[in-house]
């Protein structure tokens, strides 16, 4: 019997090898890929839509000058090369012989038109705030364009590579007017076919695409709001791909040969933020004690159950400028250490088990949403219990996201703590380290909700923003993260994982760390 099993295992392994070898050569063309996801797009044009439901679709239809591949490297798309002309000007050579889906040629004027419409439109594009100092584009000749920034802007390349920077056809915009947002025309490997509100969006292969043409004939993006129903659609074969799969079913699906679970570390860090501008959290020892009090590994193992990765710092590993903050070494889970640090800060155990100082109990108010980020409510509760073990009381207020958003965005901030997730949208450290930790970036200007203030950090992030030397920038951001690691104003909890489940016959799909970048042109169906 044992031998039979061994033989079987050997055979399976051999088959797998053959299968893998076969896959490399036998790409098949044709077929329709059906995707189920929870919500309908707001719009199919980036100027009105920066959230995932629309981005998933238009990322396959519109292309920018540059793109970010799944290894988080900047790659050419509609531009073939670039040259830094001055600290505020980068010159791009454009790809020749590219046509929009409507047959009109792609050129420098289209680039100028796209950015002018987005940045100077009334109102400006919804991504305008994401684009930082981007001022617009100037036509040099038909296939050369200068990208201009208001001030020297280091993150410019990754900004131009963002999912929402797709170039649109000026002719189509003129012709369609407001309807363009429901039927966009770009240069991408897929083109628009139909959008039935709250039902589906259909795109099909663009046969005049400049690069490798898409392998699929069509892609149907269906709306299935209910998680259980989405998983059933995959199981019955009504769908080939599920976005936002049910985390509870992943362990079973990983083992099931009928499905493939695609996963990669994302770029969002979910954390419990600390208000460093308000006592008692203005004392760094109290903040450090809180970090020691939290068993991050237990949260990952027991609450996230493999659907998230560890938080290695305030940035996710895929982000340019990321440095591992060595949190496990600096702040291991250690209740005794936590209590000792609180003791150093003058807090002593009170009669009810809660620490106190001068008659004041160590009680922290905490604002959190439930359902905004995976398991945010559960995590907040778990940390609340862990705090209690070291004599810290957390009074949690759970509100709907819109209400939390308004309060966290408010000034002054009343709660001591808040649960948030931060995604570095342009994949450049500037985006997070500047807006979150520069002392002038407190709300409503920026997102320094922790009211963190350190002149050295201010200097470093300013310097890194103005430099176009990427090696130098990386070094500066490294130093910022070293400082932040000592003065922690967050309890980083986890880094999101991007997880997509397909049926096993869906091949060639590469999941991207940036949720919005759902690239489907290399995907094919093995019938």
């Amino acid at each position: 019997m044992k031998q039979a099993i061994r033989l079987l295992a050997g055979l399976t392994a051999a088959l797998l090898v053959i299968g893998a070898a076969g896959e490399a050569v036998a790409q098949k063309r044709g077929g329709t890929l059906t995707i189920v996801r929870p919500t309908d797009p707001v719009s199919l044009e980036p100027n009105l839509e920066t959230t995932a439901p629309g981005a998933w679709v238009y990322f396959n239809m519109l292309e920018g000058l540059l793109t970010l591949d799944e290894k988080m490297q900047v790659k050419p798309a509609l531009a073939t090369s670039y040259e830094v002309m001055s600290p505020t000007k980068v010159r791009f050579k454009l790809r020749p012989n590219v046509k929009f889906h409507d047959g009109t040629p792609f050129n420098a004027e289209a680039v100028r038109f796209t950015y002018d419409r987005a940045l100077n439109g009334k109102p400006p594009a919804r991504w305008a705030s994401l684009a930082g100092s981007l001022a617009g584009a100037e036509v040099v000749d038909n296939l050369t364009v200068d990208i201009v920034t208001k001030e020297p802007y280091g993150p410019i390349l990754r900004t131009l590579a963002m999912y929402c920077m797709g170039i649109v056809s000026p002719t189509a915009v003129g012709k369609l007017g407001a309807d363009f947002s429901r039927a966009p025309v770009g240069t991408g490997p897929f083109k628009f076919v139909e959008w039935k509100t709250n039902t589906h969006v259909i795109v099909e292969r663009h046969n005049d695409y400049w690069g490798d043409k898409a392998l699929l004939d069509r892609v149907i993006f269906k709306v299935v709001p209910e998680e259980g129903a989405r998983m059933l659609a995959l199981q019955t074969g009504d769908a080939d791909m599920v976005l936002f799969p049910s985390p509870a079913q992943l362990p079973a699906l990983r083992k099931d040969p009928k499905y493939t679970v695609h996963e990669t570390t994302g770029i969002r860090v979910v954390f419990a933020g600390l208000h460093a501008g308000m006592p008692p959290l203005d004392d760094v020892r109290v903040r450090q004690a809180l970090l020691h009090a939290v068993d991050r590994k237990a949260i990952l193992d027991n609450i996230m159950e493999g659907s998230a990765g560890p938080a290695l710092g305030v940035l996710a590993p895929g982000v340019f400028g990321f440095k591992d903050m060595q949190l496990d070494k600096l702040y291991p889970f250690d209740r005794a250490k936590a209590k000792a640090l609180l003791g150093q800060a003058g807090w002593t155990p009170g009669p009810d088990g809660i620490m106190q100082k001068g008659g004041q109990r160590l009680s922290l108010s905490w604002l959190a949403a439930r359902g905004r980020y995976p398991k945010d409510g559960e995590i907040t509760e778990a940390i609340q219990a862990m705090f209690k073990d070291v004599g810290v009381e957390a009074k949690v207020q759970v509100l709907e996201w819109a209400a939390v958003f308004q309060q966290v965005r408010g000034n002054p901030l009343n709660p001591h703590m808040f649960t948030l997730g931060w995604v570095t949208s342009n994949a450049d450290a500037d985006y997070s380290l500047y807006a979150l930790f520069h002392s002038k970036q407190t709300p409503p200007t920026g997102w320094n909700t922790s009211r963190y203030s350190n002149p050295r950090v201010d200097t470093l992030v300013e310097q890194a923003r103005r430099s176009l030397n990427q090696t130098e920038r990386e070094k500066l951001y490294g130093e910022v993260q070293d400082i932040l690691a000592k003065e922690m104003v967050w309890i980083p909890v986890y880094t999101t994982k991007e997880i997509i489940v397909t049926r096993a016959n869906v091949k060639g799909f590469n999941i991207h760390p940036v949720e919005y970048n759902l690239a489907l042109w290399k995907t094919w169906l093995d019938k």
């Binding site: 919804r126 039935k196 709250n198 269906k222 209910e226 129903a229 819109a402």
Partner: protein, 307 residues
């Protein structure tokens, strides 16, 4: 008759104006702001202010109300804040789906509810009566998102007869209509049962039986017609509730109806879209109630239509 209808429709106008005001006020009082939700975490305060200004959201509530009603009088429902698309188009996309689902569920609920109720009342404490009462207890207690999923598991997965969700063919309608109809069927069955039981104890039923009318006639002609009024009232209310209460069913079965549109509008604080959807609901509710009132007269000549 015509005066009655016109009067009732005119009375609907202040109702609808009130509805608009309440919706506007509620969205205004809710924490959270449409523009900052739309622009997301990363928006600069300037960008938020500019968009608020562009959308006219910086104006006081009263001004916005007057403007909205003014536009409404010209038949303009405005543009959705979040999607920058005419609300009328959004509603036109969603409304037929909701109507289709509601009508199907209502027909199912009326047919099976009244049927089961009458049989239960005619043979009280019989095996069928016990079964129907137990069934209606389940129907009332089980939440639709659960029954919906169970129906999908049984009829779309184990027995792959029907699609998991979505629209497109009559077969797509079956499961959502059944799931949506279940609680209403149960309620109508209970109401019909008690109403028929009560009427069967009336003197005129005894008289009818005494003069030798066949039992079938007693039930259908004498009892049922008189028992129908409370059932009809309930049916009218259910029609309104089915339309508005279809949110969960629409969610489970990916049905592109008004309920989901409204939930989306609420989460985005898109008061223009929300108002449009609520207006349609209110109008439908008013109409259904009018139809119910009119049919009272048809069932019972004593109900006066003059006035």
């Amino acid at each position: 008759m015509l005066t009655f209808i016109v009067r009732r429709l005119l009375l609907a106008v202040p109702v609808l104006l009130g509805v608009v005001f309440v919706v506007m006020l509620t969205v205004d009082l809710l924490p959270g702001d449409a523009v900052s939700l739309m622009l997301g975490e990363h928006a600069t305060p300037q960008a938020v202010a500019a968009l608020r200004d562009h959308l006219g959201l910086d104006k006081p509530l009263a001004t916005r109300y007057v403007q909205y009603v003014g536009r409404l009088l010209t038949g303009d429902l405005g543009r959705s804040i979040q999607q920058n698309r005419p609300v009328a188009s959004e509603l036109a996309d969603a409304w037929p789906a909701t109507l289709e689902l509601t009508v199907a569920a209502l027909i199912l609920a009326a047919f099976f509810g009244v049927g089961a109720g009458v049989v239960s009342a005619v043979w009280p404490s019989s095996f069928f009566d016990t079964l129907a009462r137990l069934g209606s207890l389940f129907g009332l207690s089980l939440p639709v998102f659960w029954t919906g999923l169970v129906l999908i598991v049984i009829f779309a997965w184990w027995l792959p007869w029907l699609p998991v969700g979505g629209t497109g063919s009559p077969s797509h309608l079956v499961l959502p209509a059944v799931a949506l109809a279940l609680p209403s069927t149960a309620m109508i069955a209970r109401m019909t049962r008690s109403s028929v039981l009560e009427v069967l104890r009336e003197d005129y039923v005894r008289t009818a039986r005494a003069k030798g009318v066949r039992e079938r006639w007693v039930v259908t002609k004498h009892a049922l017609r008189n028992a129908a009024i409370p059932v009809l009232t309930l049916l009218g209310l259910q029609a309104g509730q089915l339309m508005g209460g279809a949110v969960l069913t629409e969610t489970v079965f990916a049905w592109p109806g008004l309920g989901r549109l409204m939930v989306k509008a609420i989460f985005a604080r898109d008061y223009v879209l929300l108002q449009g959807a609520v207006l349609v609901f209110s109008l439908a509710f008013v109409l259904v109630n009018l139809i119910v009132d009119l049919s009272y007269g048809a069932l019972d000549p004593r109900v006066s239509r003059q006035g």
